[in-house]
Symmetry: C3
Subunit: 471 residues, 3 copies
């Protein structure tokens, strides 16, 4: 039992008694459902090219900001972990050396979801059940490296083995979608879809905003110097994205503030944005107005809108300057959805067919804002616990806080939201276990029958996501 503690069949379920029995039954009803992954950050080139991965650490560690951040928090060097600096002053790092460092520090991850995900992946794809440690570093490295060379570890085979029915990647508005073109040629678009995430041209504080806008104009042939032209450019790109399977858009914003301004006000903002003469308040107004514009386009073209709000990106300015974004230095902020979304919802919240899925990094909004909003406005659905909160306790707090007010019908099921391909099944598995645990609690408190709970479990683990994303 000791050596395989992480793969115990009852992991995350209640410790005993009727709750465990009921949870096991519920879990057995959902554990083999196909995976619907409507939002995430896997790389479409993997699927288009279907080449073997070769380097264990560069597959499993270097791109995983959950691992990097915790290692850095204990003083580990990003150079030693193979995170390249722009000036590349350390040159390439030996992949095995990275793996050894990681294994040596592995106990840092006790009690974190990264441990659950990684142990599950190592078991599922590499047959590794021993705990990671300095002692097992070389043997596990070799085992992973060998296995990666086999055909069943090609990206498309991994999707099959993980039982992925449909997965969405995420591309910026100016992305040429070359890999998705290949996927389309191979007839795989209904399984591997893109998502329209136009943050590159909706955030005037993005350092590349003006060059992005120039490219945006060039790609679409629209005059993006006029508000109308810019909106037409979005409409055009959204249509192209839909041709590559996109059913949804996604918007990463520091706050949930939205605006509903007049055309002259909007044009004035755009002028300033293009001249890069905006105040932070004006930049927020631009982003907030763009959310409302995206909602307007969704009402027309039926794309499901997602808002991921409340991240203070690149909290460590020196890290960003030397190595770039997405290395674990993004921090949550307080977010106000009730006041922030008021302008947008008052324009479109009752529009038939419009759907807006909300994600938060501020759990105090679950019961106070998201559940009351989604429990009223027809357009709204609540996305699953996101990022720092995609964890057993995070899910428990989520269910406890949202279900009573929003019901189950207003939840959008699960997203893995990951760039870590091998972790997809483990993340969905954690969700399925926590769904089973939560519903078993309701059954054992006599709030619902086991039959209802079984139906709701399937809804939460499969149907809700398909329905919420029109898949």
């Amino acid at each position: 039992m000791k050596q395989q503690i992480h793969m115990h069949p009852d992991r995350l379920l209640p410790p005993g008694g009727a709750p465990l029995d009921v949870a096991r039954t519920l879990y057995n009803g959902v554990c083999d459902l196909p995976i619907v992954s409507p939002h995430g950050h896997t790389d479409p080139s993997w699927f288009a090219q279907n080449k073997a991965f070769s380097k264990p650490a560069q597959l499993l560690i270097t791109p995983d900001h959950y691992l990097l951040r915790l290692l850095r928090s204990q003083g580990r060097s990003f150079d030693a972990l193979g995170v390249a600096a722009h000036d590349d002053r350390h040159g390439a790092v030996d992949d095995r050396a990275i793996w050894r460092l990681f294994c040596k520090d592995y106990s840092l991850f006790s009690g974190t979801p990264s441990h659950l995900w990684l142990m599950h992946s190592l078991h599922q794809f590499f047959g590794i059940d021993a705990p990671l440690s300095e002692a097992t570093a070389d043997a596990t490295y070799d085992r992973i490296a060998e296995t990666l060379a086999t055909p069943q570890m090609r990206p498309l085979a991994i999707l099959d083995r993980a039982n992925v029915e449909v997965i969405a990647t995420t591309e910026y508005a100016t992305d040429p979608l070359l890999h998705h073109q290949v996927l389309q040629e191979k007839g795989m678009t209904s399984r591997i879809r893109t998502t329209y995430r136009p943050d590159d041209v909706t955030d005037p504080e993005n350092p590349s905003f003006t060059s992005n806008m120039a490219r945006f104009g060039a790609l679409t042939g629209e005059d993006v110097h006029t508000w109308k032209g810019m909106i037409a450019a979005h409409a055009a790109r959204r249509a192209e994205f839909r041709a590559f399977g996109a059913t949804a858009t996604d918007h990463g914003v520091p706050s949930a503030k939205t605006f509903d301004l007049s055309l002259p006000q909007k044009q004035a903002l755009l002028d300033k944005a293009l001249k890069q003469t905006m105040s932070p308040q004006e930049a927020e107004a631009f982003r907030g107005q763009m959310l409302t514009e995206m909602a307007a386009l969704s009402v027309e073209d039926g794309m499901v809108m997602q808002i991921h709000a409340g991240s203070f990106r690149n909290h460590d300015a020196a890290l960003f300057a030397s190595r770039g974004p997405n290395l674990g230095a993004d921090m949550p902020m307080r977010t106000d959805f009730v006041q922030g979304l008021h302008p947008l919802l008052n324009r479109f919240g009752n529009e038939p067919g419009f759907r807006l899925i909300l994600f938060t990094l501020d759990e105090s909004t679950y019961a106070r804002e998201l559940a009351p909003l989604a429990g009223y406005w027809p357009a709204l659905r609540i996305g699953p616990p996101w990022w720092f909160h995609d964890s057993p306790q995070g899910m428990r707090r989520y269910f406890d806080a949202v279900v009573e007010t929003a019901g189950f019908a207003n939840l959008a099921g699960f997203n893995d939201d990951t760039r870590a391909l091998l972790s997809i099944s483990s993340r969905h598995d954690v969700w399925r276990r926590e769904v089973s645990r939560f519903l078993a609690g309701l059954v054992c408190e006599r709030q619902m029958s086991e039959e209802s709970a079984a139906d709701i479990a399937i809804h939460l683990c499969y149907t809700a996501a398909k329905k919420a994303y029109n898949l």
Copy 2:
């Protein structure tokens, strides 16, 4: 077991073991206590006229904003649910048709407190134990309609059957209190009491503020154009309300901000309010000053003051324009009690005999603000979980967050705060079960004896409310 899942005798109690045994014993000690309902929104005309209710859906569904909001969130039409629009463009809706719609969608309410309340009411008053569904819609409708015609379903009989010892309704400052006059003539004032809620004349952003003020002046004979006259009008109306049994006032405010201004500043605010030339900041100052004035009057006349803070009313402007308020479109907001109440508490927080009961929609204030404040200031008591949080999980979060810092003596017991007459006993029952569950946890963790827990259970389910409201 399956068919009566919702009425299992152990519902909401812990799933087994010693915690269940202890919780059962505690629950048995409180389940038959009379109901004290010191704050709510039942209609006094029901009790004054004691006429039979006749239409099941118009009794149970159309007035219940908890049900309406969740149905609307899934796209159901308020027209079809019989919620009249001002232009009444759809005319009357057949009552049975509403019930059928509701029953068809009943599974939406799984996991919500509405399910607990409704199943309890249907069982208690109509002997209905079958789950609601399309299949059972007509039979349950007929059963309810028949039963409503019987004498034991008259409003006063319902109070008796629910074992209501005392109940308070809530009336605006300009209410003529006609129904309470009838109740007084019938000698029922000590059982059915009014509450003074002067929001109609303390909120300058109320669209009817100026006409309300004119009526307020006319009713009291005071010159409400002067601050002093307006305060005298309040004092007069408070006295009248007390004659109809009121022991408390109630104040619904978007924020907990209070002010303690000079007379010239106050008069200037009143002048602007009457001319309707206020900025939002000035309107907030007016409301916040009025809270302090109400506290001053409570110090004089001994009425218990209640503040229900933090609701963004009528978040859907189009709904409000077409159908009015209280239809499920009110949303919680972040609330700051520590800084907001500072002026008021520094004037009156130590006054002997002054009591102020606080309610929040922002659960993050439980441990951070309400419990520390109530655990220090002699005037303060913490009201029970309110509105969205009047639910099993809401109560668990409340007890977990407030008791350790505020103790039990600073809690005001339970309020059902409902306009749904038939739900009163079910709401108190949920509270009593959750009280038993929480205290059983403390007993089983050896933090208190069963004897103490039994005493505290009675305090929380009965005595605390009587004491807090001077009943």
Copy 3:
């Protein structure tokens, strides 16, 4: 069982089954570890003089703001409790009379951590197991008074009996450290250490700021009218504190806002501070800049920095005016660490050897801010639940919210932060029980092995504090 409910060996552990078994085992592994108390407010004169305490109520009640506040919340008089007013209009209160009042009201403390702490202390030091009540007041008073006269109740004997390996007191920047000099002469500095808390000269809103600054200049011989001189004065005093065992500094601030201003801006702030012409915003900037300066000094001299943020001190202005601070009238406020600490962390967050331990009164920051920050920045550690949250439920919320994101390595272990000498072992005991309970949950959910849990328990109860504070 009934009479000793508070000292049940399984108190606070899970109620039964495998979780209880595992928790017991874990607790047995940590319950006898020496106590490391790196932050608190005991009085160094106790240890320097080692005189017997004589008055039970003046030892156990009058200085304990947790007890005072709850008694006051129920209308008890501070005069009767022996809390002296500045005008001393009531003269001395009989110590036994205070104890009687307290015992009579003892049931107020049911469900609060004060009950756990007091019962533990009475058992451990006085052999008292009977519940406190009016009936037992005199007998318990006599027992305590007699025992206090014995040698084993001298302050140093109490430290021995509580198994305190090391304890830190807290002194202001202008403190002459006379008692620590005595301790140094007695060779006790490595066991009883001071901590540098310069709030007296970093908060321009302190009523004694200018006189404190004058004294600060006199003590150090630096010209504290120049920014450079003031910083040099801090450096000098920090060195002196280190000579008396200090390894840490501590900073109590209303917000977590920090600044990184230019020298002319800083000098301008200092000029205004000394002239007492600051706006509240400027005072906040001064305090926030001083946090950054303290971090700069810590980078140089290696002292561990602590920030205790978010208390609204002296919420009752009348109480403060009549009786002074620290009587239970301090209230938590919302705190923003992510934006507030951004300037400081961007200067020093990656400095090797710099360590900053954060404490919050706003639990919504645990998962949203503190865990993500500490899970990235090498300098940061999260302090234990503080003040109102140093309680069983407070610890449960803390573990649930921080561990998944920050891991165990970024936690700073436990602080008792108390001025109540006799409560130290009871406070650490509550922590050790809650650590055992939390880890038993992870073991029983198969998230970790019992072996790992046992190691982590020792880390959380002993090693982490020594390491975090360089002890």
